[in-house]
């Protein structure tokens, strides 16, 4: 029983982090139909930015609690500056083009950003764990957990999930995004600026990826290559959920998190492949993903 409790807690914590990153990828695909391979780079940039800001706070002798608002600052900075520039100068030129071109362009951005990280921050791992320590530990079922991973990250993930749902359903900007997603031509005909909607959506998607990286930075080594690891997992979540499904991404992330932690406890040799086993099983039964909708293909 204790083992089940432990595996569940670990699965929820891991799933929360994966959801935070994957939801941005899902949102961008759902609205813009762009499969953004560079998404993992934004995760890494968010982590580097947060670790650097945290280090600067410590050097300046400021309160480490400031790291928490700085996570949001770092995420928004990356989202608006890097994401905004990418959407404005690259993606706008390839909307409506075939997926291969989109994949190539976003992959090129991924490579450029990966090397840029190396140039700026070098190759040595960074670790800024002060925010993790500030929240202290909790003891559950006789085992010590960090409050940051066990409580804070899942709460943030829930806030993002419900915040996004509220934004898309109950705000004018959200309704405009939904309108463009449903029928771009009709939305444009009634005076909606679809390009601005795409810009806003992409910035939100990048900000979410970056926020995931910033929130992950106190728990993990920030180092070159971390973006590549996360993009693969995010794609697995997005494919399992059904591309474009936000609630589905939450469920898929939770399934993958739980599957992985159960594997650690009961079948460690399957840990590495567990996300992909879950993805394959889901796609075998529902090729459009857990929450994806079957659509007629126009020929």
């Amino acid at each position: 029983m204790q083992v089940l409790v432990l595996a569940t807690l670990d699965g929820i914590a891991y799933g929360a982090l994966v959801f935070l990153v994957a939801v941005g990828l899902t949102l961008v695909f759902g609205v813009m139909r762009i499969l953004n391979v560079a998404h993992g780079s934004f995760y890494a940039l968010g982590a580097y930015a947060a670790a650097s800001i945290g280090g600067a706070l410590a050097s300046a002798g400021l309160s480490p609690w400031l790291a928490y608002p700085m996570f949001i600052v770092a995420a928004v900075l990356v989202g608006v500056v890097v994401g905004g520039l990418m959407e404005r100068f690259l993606l706008q030129r390839i909307y409506g083009h075939e997926e291969t071109l989109q994949l190539l362009v976003t992959f090129a951005v991924f490579m450029i950003l990966d090397n840029a990280q190396r140039l700026i921050w070098g190759v040595q791992p960074y670790f800024y764990s002060e925010p993790l320590r500030l929240l202290g530990n909790v003891k559950i079922a006789g085992i010590t957990y960090t409050a940051y991973q066990t409580l804070f990250l899942p709460l943030v993930a829930l806030a993002v999930l419900f915040g996004l749902r509220w934004f898309l359903r109950y705000t004018l900007a959200g309704s405009v995004i939904v309108a463009v997603t449903e029928d771009r031509e009709a939305a444009t005909a009634v005076g909606i600026n679809a390009r601005r909607v795409f810009f806003l959506t992409f910035v939100i998607g990048v900000t979410l990826a970056s926020l995931g990286g910033a929130l992950a930075s106190p728990t993990t080594s920030v180092l070159p290559g971390m973006g590549a690891e996360m993009i693969v997992l995010s794609f697995a979540v997005a494919a399992t959920a059904g591309l474009g499904q936000i609630e589905g991404a939450a469920v898929a992330a939770l399934m993958i998190g739980l599957g992985r932690s159960m594997a650690v406890f009961f079948a460690p040799e399957l840990e590495v492949v567990m996300p992909y086993i879950i993805m394959v099983l889901v796609l075998l039964i529902r090729p459009e993903g857990l929450f994806g909708k079957s659509t007629a293909r126009k020929i």
């Binding site: 670790f127 993790l132 530990n137 728990t219 080594s221 180092l223 070159p224 460690p268």
Partner: protein, 449 residues
Amino acid sequence: MEERATIAPYHMEEPVKARRIILSMATVLGLGVAQTALAQDAPENIKIGITTFTSGPASVFGVPAQAAAEMIAESINEAGGIQGVPVELHFVDEGAGAETLTTEVRRLVQDLDVDVMMAAISSGNCINLTPLLEDLEVLNILWDCGTQRIFEEAEYKYNFRTQANATPEMMAALLYLLKTNPDFETIAVINQDYAWGRDSWELFSSALMKLKPDVQVVAELFPRLGAPDFSAEISRLLATQPDVILSTSWGGDLDTLVQQASQRGLFQNSTFVLPLAESSIQRLGGVLPDGVIIGARGDHYFLHPELRDDKNLGDFVERFRKRTGDYPIYPAFHMAQAFAALQAAYDKAAEANGGEFPDRAQVLEAMEGLEFQGYGRPLTIREDNQALEAQLIGVSRTVNEYDFPIMDDMMIFDAADIMAPAGENSLDWIGTLDPSFIDIEVTEYKHGE
């Protein structure tokens, strides 16, 4: 006839004079040709191709090693080169993938005609490149990779390793554990899921079962290489409470594991054995608690107890710090060993060549049985082209002089005592061990004494 014989200018009266002049000219020309031939023997540069990780997670090793190589090459050239010939370095990134790496190495050998290759960090890359470089007939120094399989599974003429391999590295960690914690009953492993993580555990656990058969393995965890989170693994280890936890992980993975384990109190319950932790210790700083068994993959350390007052080591450490801001870690020392071996081979070959600059075949011959000195005890290349290198290992200890733990309660194991003899498979050799192996003689040192 006389006219024909008189080829001298018109003012020369006697054909004899003409013959003398021709002979003299021939002699001078001959000497000139001979001198030119000698000058051609000593090339303008000794071209060295080096594979190292400048991208990817293993660049935590590759970049310091590259800095060390550049620093050493500058020193060699400032001192006039090797046997008077400057060295010229050409780097290839191991992080670019096996296919690109192979192409680049081929280019270095076939197009650039490098005199020597130094490959590689990754054991996988060493396994791929050693047969290729053997076919290309170029001297290759395996400067960092650890897999013991290279010289146990094949015989090579052109490949030599200038440091130890995984077998003595794992034996040293195990013997240290058994000598200092003889009563432990349970052990768990958490290694990276790739060849090194699996192979090192196989060596360690096989020997452990021979030396202390009553030990119970309570968890074998192999998270993927580059995993960002070990929470579930740590929960399981906290629940299982093994007496000892082994991890041969490195780089960001090891840093993350230590940070997360430290935060959750795992170090309080179990004795950690981290044979590669010397390479992470400066980044981890105070997060790594005292009493963790740490190794450095060989007999080198910036505070080496037998070389504390050695000027060469002191200079190397200071120059490296000046260049990178850090104390040298094991890949930098391994690179220094590779260059030390190369210099020693050229010197030995030149001596055998009557003081003249040696050709490639002579340098290759000199590598056999070579004795050379890195920044530890002297090393020897044995008959299977594998170096005999001692192993230094200790425990972490916080001291006032450094903002990270240093190694204390050190032991140095002699190489020949803890590795399979030449020509013997490591696992077969381990199969012959018995508990008396634990009593093997070892030199012990305290920090600062």
